[in-house]
């Protein structure tokens, strides 16, 4: 039967269909891998008993001919998705002991299609971070290490646990959420595929909110095809999310035709930043050459407001967060720290419940929205956001997709950037602009750095045109032929 954890979702689906193995066997193999990968600290809560139960039910459904699109596929769920009666922490002390009495729409969609939950995975606290160093439940470790160097590296963030679980073969896929790059950047750091769909494609209902105009759930897996299969199951209109878009969900897997002849691929000159590392630049050029060789037409484009995207993002996202996170008041759920009166109880609870980065962003956001500063910061940032979105709109009159690097570097060491918020924010320089514009994007592993670490390339598409993004990503993946995997040092 071989090692079932090494299969992808598509291959496992075929194996299950052919009766080569059962969902119980597939799940058992992943539970063993998940337990062995404890040193990576990818999981906050493991749910092996429920997983076995779900796999057993899955086998029964299959026997009755009622298999869903992800029937029997074991997945990890970012601990930002509410899961009924299962601890949901958002990696924050403030949600201590929170067991939702309801299920998020995205996870409910996955279970409806037969997927099996292995557990809830770690992340940056309340999804705020780019290295998974802000979690109340400790750092997540990247399965990858530099060649000849046994020091631990960050997995990226905020979906660091999702990335680490998938890259370590503990889960076949994982849900992530992306606000400014939180799916794509960790995917790049761990050598997997991560897709942020168009804003509105996946429901945000039951996902712990960070910045509501930016947050978007998406799939992370080890191939473009696997993310396409997962996204189809996750997506769909949800009346409970006011910004969910009422559109049919295409068969994303069918978009993987392998043919991009005549496709116009935009290369934005502003992404060629001063001080771009030569190996990132070389990888990007390699990607351009691959697309050209596959018959695409390369078009130089300009996105003139790119350099202002990060600054706009770091006003808009904290502003929305300061409003969203007002709900953590020690009254309805989670932590309460008593005080001398109600206000004191609020302030004590939030002082103890939130970590340093969350507090920093809440203060920035509160300040940006406060009387006298609203126009100068928040309104200005929202206008800059319009200009950034218009840049993309104009570009998509000339091209079908845009190709860029996913992140400015490979995975880095713990502590490298955690003392300097601005240095940390720069990780998202290539992912934030598309987040502000609500566009779909995907990171595809495209090569290894000189130090032997994975590097990703990013493809961005038109709103609701994930199909073209997947099609181009499939060709990129094929050309890159990225088959490297981390050594499983964590097994000891």
């Amino acid at each position: 039967m071989g090692d079932l954890t090494k299969l992808g979702i598509a291959a496992a689906r075929d194996g299950l269909n052919a009766g080569d193995f059962s969902a119980r066997e597939l799940t058992a193999a992943h539970i063993t891998a998940m337990v062995a990968a404890k040193p990576l600290n990818a999981f906050i809560t493991e749910t092996p008993d429920q997983a076995v139960e779900a796999a057993t039910a899955s086998d029964a459904r299959r026997a009755k001919g009622e298999a869903g699109k992800l029937e029997g596929i074991p997945l990890a769920i970012k601990d930002l998705f509410c899961t009924k009666d299962v601890l949901t922490t958002a990696a924050s002390h403030i949600l201590d002991g929170f067991k939702p009495r309801y299920e998020s729409t995205v996870t409910a969609n996955l279970w409806k299609e037969g997927a099996v939950m292995l557990g809830k995975v770690n992340l940056d606290e309340l999804a705020m971070g780019s290295s998974n160093e802000t979690s109340y439940y400790g750092n997540v470790v990247n399965p990858w290490r530099r060649a000849g160097d046994n020091r631990d590296l960050v997995p990226g963030g905020s979906s660091g646990g999702s990335a680490s679980a998938v890259a370590s073969f503990s889960a076949m896929g994982a849900t992530g959420t992306d606000t400014g790059g939180s799916i794509r950047q960790p995917a790049s750091f761990t050598g997997i595929v991560g897709c942020k769909p168009t804003y509105g494609r996946c429901s945000r209902w039951g996902v712990v909110a960070f910045a509501s105009s930016l947050d978007q759930p998406g799939p992370m897996a080890r191939s473009v095809r696997d993310t396409a299969i997962m996204l189809e199951a996750m997506a769909g209109f949800d009346p409970k999310d006011s910004t969910s878009v009422d559109m049919p969900v295409p068969n994303f897997e069918a978009a993987l035709t392998g043919d991009i002849r005549g496709l116009k691929v935009g290369i934005p000159k502003e992404y060629r930043t001063d001080g771009m590392s030569p190996e990132i630049e070389a990888l990007w050029q390699q990607g351009i050459d691959w697309m050209k060789a596959a018959g695409a037409e390369i078009v130089e484009i300009s996105l003139p407001h790119t350099k202002y995207a990060l600054a706009a993002y770091y006003i808009i996202a904290p502003a929305e967060a300061s409003s969203n996170l007002a709900r953590y008041d020690g009254v309805r759920y989670g932590l309460r720290v008593e005080g001398k009166d109600l206000n004191d109880m609020y302030a004590n609870t939030r002082a103890e419940g939130f970590g340093a980065e969350v507090k920093r962003r809440l203060l920035i956001g509160t300040y940006a929205l406060s009387a006298g500063y609203y126009d100068a910061y928040y309104l200005k940032a929202q206008k800059v956001r319009t200009r950034i979105a218009n840049d993309f709109k104009e570009a998509y009159e000339k091209v079908d997709v845009i190709l860029t690097p996913t992140a400015p570097s490979a995975a880095f060491s713990f502590g490298d950037k955690s003392d300097d918020p601005l240095a940390m924010y720069l990780n998202d320089v290539f992912t934030v602009p598309a987040s502000l514009a609500g566009l779909p994007g995907i990171s595809v592993p495209a090569g290894l750095s000189e130090e032997g670490l994975p590097l990703g390339l990013q493809l961005l598409g038109r709103p609701f045109d994930e199909e073209t993004v997947f099609r181009a990503a499939g060709v990129l993946e094929e050309a890159a032929g990225f088959t490297a995997t981390p050594t499983d040092w964590w097994r000891g």
Binding site: G97, F98, K99, R101, Y102, T198, Y199, G200, S213, L214, P239, S242, T243, V245, H305, K307, Y308, A311, Y314, I315, D329, G330, V331, R332, Y333, G334, L335, R336, G339, D341, L342, N343, D344, M345, A347, R350, A351, F354, K359, R360, L362, L363, I364, T366, Y367, S370, Y377, L379, K380, A381, Q382, K383, V384, R385, T386, R387, P421, L422, G438, P463
Partner: protein, 95 residues
């Protein structure tokens, strides 16, 4: 626009986050560092540019104004740190 200690204390109070006196100064420095970097937005010409308020080009949906949900008090208060008879319990607010 530079934040001083007093402004940080005011903002922290608005955000309902207790910050002890000795942490106000370092926090002011951190926030000023970020806000200083954000100042670059001033370089962008935003004359006659509308602020972006909707990501997807869509109008928010309307629905009939009727009760469509509810009737599960126990679920609502299940996670409360303190509750009484189906209500959230908080420290006394009226003397």
């Amino acid at each position: 626009m530079s934040l001083d200690k007093a402004t940080v204390a005011k903002v922290a109070n608005l955000a309902r986050i207790k910050i002890v006196e000795k942490d106000l100064e370092p926090m002011a420095a951190e926030l000023n560092n970020i806000l200083g970097w954000v100042e670059q937005l001033g370089e962008v010409d935003t004359e006659n540019v509308e602020p972006m308020t909707s990501v997807a080009e869509m109008r928010l949906r309307w629905r009939a104004d009727e009760v469509t949900d509810g009737g599960y008090v126990e679920d609502v208060v299940a996670n409360a740190p303190s509750r009484e008879d189906g209500f959230f319990a908080v420290p006394k607010v009226i003397e």
